[in-house]
Amino acid sequence: MNNDVRTIVLAGVGGQGTILVSRVLTTALIDAGYDVKMSEIHGMAQRGGSVSTTVRYGKKVESPLVGKGAADILVAFEQMEAVRSTPVLKKDGIIIVNDYKIMPLPVASGKAEYPDNYIEELSKVFRVIAFNAGQAAIELGNARVMNIILLGAMVEAFEMGRLDWDSALEKQVPPRYLDINRKAFELGRSMARADNK
């Protein structure tokens, strides 16, 4: 049994930037000396499908993937993807969710409606930190750093602040975007802190 192994699941829609987050995350964990395994399901080449990445770390990690009821934290880049992935969470798991909706085809074509109560329902069962990271990113000056804002929030909520995030960002983000990504990361942390109060 690997009781000391922690599991983080990132869930989103193709093209939302989960890959960069998983790179920064695993870099920081490896640099801190953890054994790390990561598994991704990226669906098909077409854009717009659900994607999910599992990152596991600890002294020694065996399985790269988990089943339901096993993850400590879920970082969802989109509301519906949060709901889709909740079965993977442990009872006392945490959800960081981007308060944002991407319409799946059945909704776009009027065959289904996108419910308005997702975050409310999630909050009844889990500790949920929800905010509109996309809007925050736009206000920061680049819509694409939404992903790193979510990473910052996760780091705060999951108390991973002692890892060397600055160096991990520097290793994974192209130099000309480093500054804005650093700001995004800090913003994410402060948003999670605010949420905690």
Binding site: V36, M38, S39, L65, K68, L105, V107
Partner: protein, 581 residues
């Protein structure tokens, strides 16, 4: 120095370290990234072959000629390559020859979840099964040694989670081998009956030697802890078993899984009170272990379909369902869709409006033409079958005098893979079928690989494009229609003309995939005039993810739309217009 890499990247590294010099593959999830990573290692010649049989034969030829060689493919690719595999096992190899098969439990991106371990038994070849990235590197080196020592091709079986999971690896010094000098050896390499009779006997001898090797292979190891419970497992399932069973469990970890080390297994079984065999998919090891008279717990509790994970295994072992905290909300499915601006859209939209047509499809992005709202496919089974299923249907309908228009539809990569023989079949045996190639000038489904129609090789060289038109003509098709699917009028006209055409005809629907990086794509934006929109919903029928309804009117997401105008062409009220970007 440690590197964090996927199993596929590690396989590429392992091929380099083992001094492989020739590699041939056909793309297919989850195997594709192996060859996409070979460009890092300059000395390896590597290519995309038109199909897996070709890839396997090319690699085998290189092995005969004296260099280490590899062929790689997804699991169903080995069905295509089975013919050379079975006889290469008889003939034996020159320098080491390894065939990599990546299976896809849970069918993340496949049409079935066949367990290719059975091929090792059926073809009588040795097999390795790595469980993580480090083993991908280390086992490959051993696999080539085994291939040379026992003069036999080796099967290297991966699964999606091994290929696509990342873990830490360390490199070793790459080998630098001399090629084996070539000399003609007809008795060995000409598989005529008289030689095969001899090879058949030799093969059984090789298997006996391999069974002995299996008992001492550095990749078959016992980790003895307690005497109560013992677990035999292999590949990705091994890691899951290690995670789930308690600490005092003993393990027999198998990396070399055909032939099985039956003495080792027997000894291990006798050393524990209860023996488990934990496998993903079929009871491949379990059946052999039971046949040897060794009792074990296996598929009576462990699921025999879908990918295994620690929760499923825990539930299987305890018989208790692990509670998961279902939220009182349901996620709506988010099926993959054709991209905004996808060239396949115009073709399927046009056919979706036709009555009394049969559309035998195939595997590729265009399989999504069968999903709502387009829903314009009757069948899809395996690569190449778009043409040939159509042929069989045509002959069946003729039996009953039923009049239908039958299209056989496949993509460019699929045409070169196994469509050409179908095109010959339809023409020569006088099928009442219109073959259609959806030529988006790339192999898209697997992430935009080159193929003989694109003009580039995997190593980045420019090559002469193989002309489908010329192939159709050479086969004997008298009329070849060429049409841009983004022009719906032209698309409609072409379908009309092909239906009434008295001579054998074929249709080439040509426009590049919007995700090809090399090409500069024209980008524009279509917008809806809300005053003109009559809410007729016609534009939704093209199935573009950029078009949706908002407050009762059609709306186009400017972040997604690329301005292909297909939705604009179907709007009966001119409510959609194009703005130049």
């Amino acid at each position: 120095m440690k590197y964090f890499m996927s199993g596929n990247e590690a396989v590429a590294r392992g091929l380099y370290e083992a001094d492989v010099r020739v590699g041939s593959a056909y793309p297919g999830t989850p195997s594709t990234e192996i060859f996409e990573n070979l460009h890092k290692y300059e000395r390896i010649y590597h290519e995309w072959a038109p199909n897996e049989k070709v890839a396997t034969e090319v690699a085998y030829g290189a092995s005969i000629a004296g260099v280490r060689a590899v062929a790689a493919m997804k699991h169903v690719g080995l069905n295509v390559a089975a013919d050379p595999l079975f006889t290469a096992a008889y003939n034996g190899v020159g320098r080491g020859f390894v065939i990599i098969s990546a299976d896809d439990p849970s069918m993340h991106s496949s049409q079935n979840e066949q367990d290719n371990r059975h091929y090792a038994r059926a073809a009588k070849v040795p097999m390795f099964e790595p469980s993580d990235s480090q083993e991908c590197i280390d086992m490959l080196r051993e696999a080539f040694d085994v291939s040379e020592r026992f003069d036999i091709p080796v099967l290297f079986r991966m699964t999606t989670r091994v290929s696509h999971s990342r873990s830490l690896v360390e490199y070793s010094e790459p080998l630098n081998l001399e090629p084996f000098p070539y000399s003609r050896n007809p008795r060995k390499f000409i598989a005529a009956p008289a030689n095969a009779m001899v090879h058949r006997v030799e093969l059984e001898e090789k298997l006996k030697g391999l069974a002995q090797y299996s008992e001492t292979s550095p990749f078959n190891v016992i980790e003895k802890r307690g005497n109560k419970v013992g677990v035999i497992s292999a590949g990705g399932a091994m890691l899951i078993a290690k995670e789930v069973f308690p600490e005092d469990t003993s393990f027999l970890k198998l990396g070399f899984t055909h032939p099985l080390p039956m003495n080792m297994i027997r000894g291990f079984a006798e050393s524990v009170e209860t023996l488990y065999v934990i496998e993903e998919l079929d009871p491949f090891m379990e059946e052999q272990i039971r046949a040897a008279g060794i009792n074990c717990i296996g598929k009576d509790v462990v699921p025999l379909m879908y990918e295994l994970n620690p929760t499923l295994l825990r539930e299987a072992l305890t018989g208790e369902e692990i509670a998961s905290h279902e939220v009182n909300a349901q996620a709506i499915p988010r099926p993959p869709v054709l991209c905004p601006g996808c060239p396949h859209r115009g073709f399927f939209y046009t056919l979706s409006k036709r009555k009394n047509v049969i559309i035998a499809g195939d595997i590729g992005c265009y399989t999504l033409g069968g999903s709502p709202p387009l829903s314009a496919l009757d069948s899809c089974i395996c690569m190449g079958a778009g043409f040939t299923l159509a042929m069989g249907m045509a002959k069946a309908f003729e039996q009953f005098g039923e009049k239908k228009t039958i299209f056989g539809v496949l993509g460019d990569s699929t045409f070169f893979h196994s469509g050409i023989t179908g095109a010959i079949e339809i023409l020569y045996n006088k099928g009442n079928v219109i073959p259609v190639v959806l030529d988006n000038t790339i192999t898209s489904m697997t992430g935009q690989q080159d193929n003989p129609g694109t003009g580039y090789t995997l190593m980045g060289e420019i090559a002469d494009i193989v002309s489908m038109e010329a192939i159709f003509r050479a086969v004997g098709y008298k009329k070849i229609f060429n049409v841009d699917p983004q022009d719906l009028d032209a698309m409609n006209r072409t379908i009309d003309e092909a239906i009434v055409c008295k001579e054998p005809c074929a249709i080439i629907v040509r426009r590049p995939c919007v995700l090809i990086k090399r090409i500069k794509h024209e980008r524009a934006l279509c917008v809806v005039d809300r005053d003109k929109c009559k809410s007729c919903r016609r534009c939704l029928a093209v199935g573009c993810p950029a078009v949706f309804f908002k407050d009762g009117k059609a709306t186009i997401d400017p972040n997604l739309c690329v301005g292909c105008t297909v939705c604009m062409q179907v709007c009966p009220f001119d409510a959609i217009s194009k703005e130049e970007a």
